[in-house]
């Protein structure tokens, strides 16, 4: 059976594997074929472990043949961002400063992937140290002249082109949700701490979340169930009774294409029965300065603790930002720590005052821009950072779901966020929207 759209999902592939329509080795072979066909163009992978993946697929087939209990990801080929330790694979975080480093153990999330039966294809390309200051070689899945977003660029693109059925990324300020939007896949940043970050090269641990890339919301729930304690969503066909707060200022700050796609998505949500109300939470605008005052000094400290890291080999933009982190005073850091609960309390207050089930806004302020840009990275990052950092500062779960196309045919995304640990409710709402959006596309 060829790797068609159905097979390129976790749910479809898992069914095919259990029905013996395909073996894990055959499925991996098809994913590797896709990888070899796409990598010369999109460059999603920093390291591919074909031998290790083939061995894992063979073990998965043996388990199937012997009727052993199967995990939720049994035989599913997945990819892992190269800031996360996978034993005996490089751990270079997209940086020459860490060249030659090989992990001697699995991160906790990788151990859970393996226990769930996943086949790890390799490590995906990231912006250097997940900072977003350099230009990685990865290209957008829909147009190789366009940027992939970041910093989890390779994970998003690998999932989009089918060189993995799902991937793990990290999100310290939108690094899962923004590339997910630009590449037309589902990107989830769950509640802070829901996925254990042990073994992750986290530059800003106060804000760093592990997150997932999948091709559907249903896959997102399946993937999450293997790596975090999260009850299965109660899928629903409508959104009757759901109240969603619209972060209107973020909509209005987005490009016209994005505003039009968001308006269409809002119409779909209303058609499904949801009630949409505009909400104004001024404290949300504090999230970026709070986040930067936390992540900059934490990054400077974290990099200083990496053994044998050669700072002289960092890209200039990354080096400058780490230097800036060293100039943030302890007093400022503590001010930001005190301000974080202020943002959290304001968002929580809005949920209570408006009886909200979630918040919505675009997950990218514009379609993917040019892959090569003269504009300084910090300026390019400012707009998407504003749309995402509030969910990192509050720690609430947030998912980006594909939401139409730009005039140039590039993917766009809608971001839905819910109260902490409400992933199941969040994904149920997201799935209802996704189904309606897809059936709208089909009609």
């Amino acid at each position: 059976m060829a790797l068609n759209d159905e097979m390129a999902t976790i749910a479809g592939a898992a069914t095919a594997l259990r029905d013996r329509d395909v073996s894990a080795a055959e499925l991996l072979g098809q994913v590797l074929d896709r990888l070899h066909a796409t990598e010369p163009v999109v460059r999603a992978y920093a390291h591919v472990d074909e031998d290790g993946a083939r061995a894992a697929a063979a073990r998965a087939d043996e388990a199937l043949a012997h009727g052993e209990p199967l995990g939720p990801l049994h035989g599913i080929p997945v990819a892992v961002k190269d800031v996360i330790a996978v034993a005996d694979m490089p751990l270079e975080a997209g940086s020459r400063a860490l060249a030659g480093r090989v992990a001697d153990h699995d991160a906790e999330v990788v151990s859970r992937l393996r226990r769930g039966g996943a086949v790890i294809v390799g490590k995906t390309i990231t912006h250097e140290l997940a900072f977003g200051q350099n230009t990685p070689p990865t290209r957008n899945a829909y147009d190789p002249e366009r940027e992939p977003g970041g910093s989890s660029a390779g994970s998003a693109v690998a999932t989009a082109v089918g060189s993995a059925l799902a991937a793990i990324g990290t999100d310290g300020g939108g690094s899962v949700r923004h590339p997910a939007a630009l590449n037309g896949v589902v990107g989830l940043k769950p509640t802070y701490g829901l996925i254990d970050t042990a073994g992750v090269l986290a530059m800003g641990p106060s804000l760093e979340h592990l997150g997932t890339f999948t091709r559907t919301v249903e896959d997102c729930a399946l993937f999450l169930s293997a790596i975090a304690p999260c009850p299965a969503p109660a899928w629903r066909n409508d959104l009757a009774g759901a109240r969603l707060g619209v972060l209107r200022s973020f909509v209005e700050a987005s490009d016209r294409d994005v505003q039009e796609a968001f308006a269409a998505a809002s119409g779909l949500l209303r058609d499904l029965g949801a009630e949409l109300v505009d909400v104004d939470i001024p404290e949300i605008e504090l999230a970026v300065p709070v986040g930067l005052a936390l992540v900059l000094p934490e990054s400077a400290d974290a990099f200083g603790q990496v053994p044998r890291a050669d700072s002289s080999r960092l890209e200039p933009g990354t080096r400058a930002l780490l230097a800036a982190g060293g100039l943030v005073t302890a007093g400022d850091y503590l001010v930001a720590r005190r301000a974080r609960p202020v943002v959290q309390a304001a968002v929580r207050g809005a949920f209570q005052d408006h009886r909200l089930d979630g918040l919505i806004c675009p997950s990218a302020p514009a379609p993917a821009g040019p892959a090569e840009s003269e504009e300084p990275a910090m300026k390019r990052l400012a707009r998407p950072l504003r749309l995402h950092m509030w969910a990192n500062v509050t720690g609430m779960p947030s998912v980006s779901v594909p939401c139409g196309r730009s005039a140039d045919g590039l993917p766009l995304g809608i971001q839905l966020a819910a109260a902490p640990f409400a992933e199941s409710r969040l994904l149920a709402i997201a799935a209802a929207f996704e189904r309606a959006a897809r059936s709208g596309l089909a009609s």
Partner: protein, 63 residues
């Protein structure tokens, strides 16, 4: 030493250069100095906030 054209604080640029080492372009410095200036401005506002809850705490009761 490169100077940020609108930087009111040459001392900031001097400290940044000292920490970052050689090889930074004017664009690199300008972008990061902008971040630091924005940071300093934001700090004034953050210092004026009324504290709520524990420092840095994540509220586990919000479900």
């Amino acid at each position: 030493m490169p100077r940020h054209p609108a930087d009111p604080s040459p001392e900031l640029v001097r400290m940044l250069c000292a920490r970052a080492g050689p090889g930074l372009s004017d664009d690199d410095l300008t972008a990061v100095v902008d971040v630091l200036i924005a940071h300093q401005e934001a700090m004034t506002r953050l210092r004026g906030l009324e504290p709520v809850g524990e420092v840095g705490a994540f509220d586990p009761t919000w479900r």
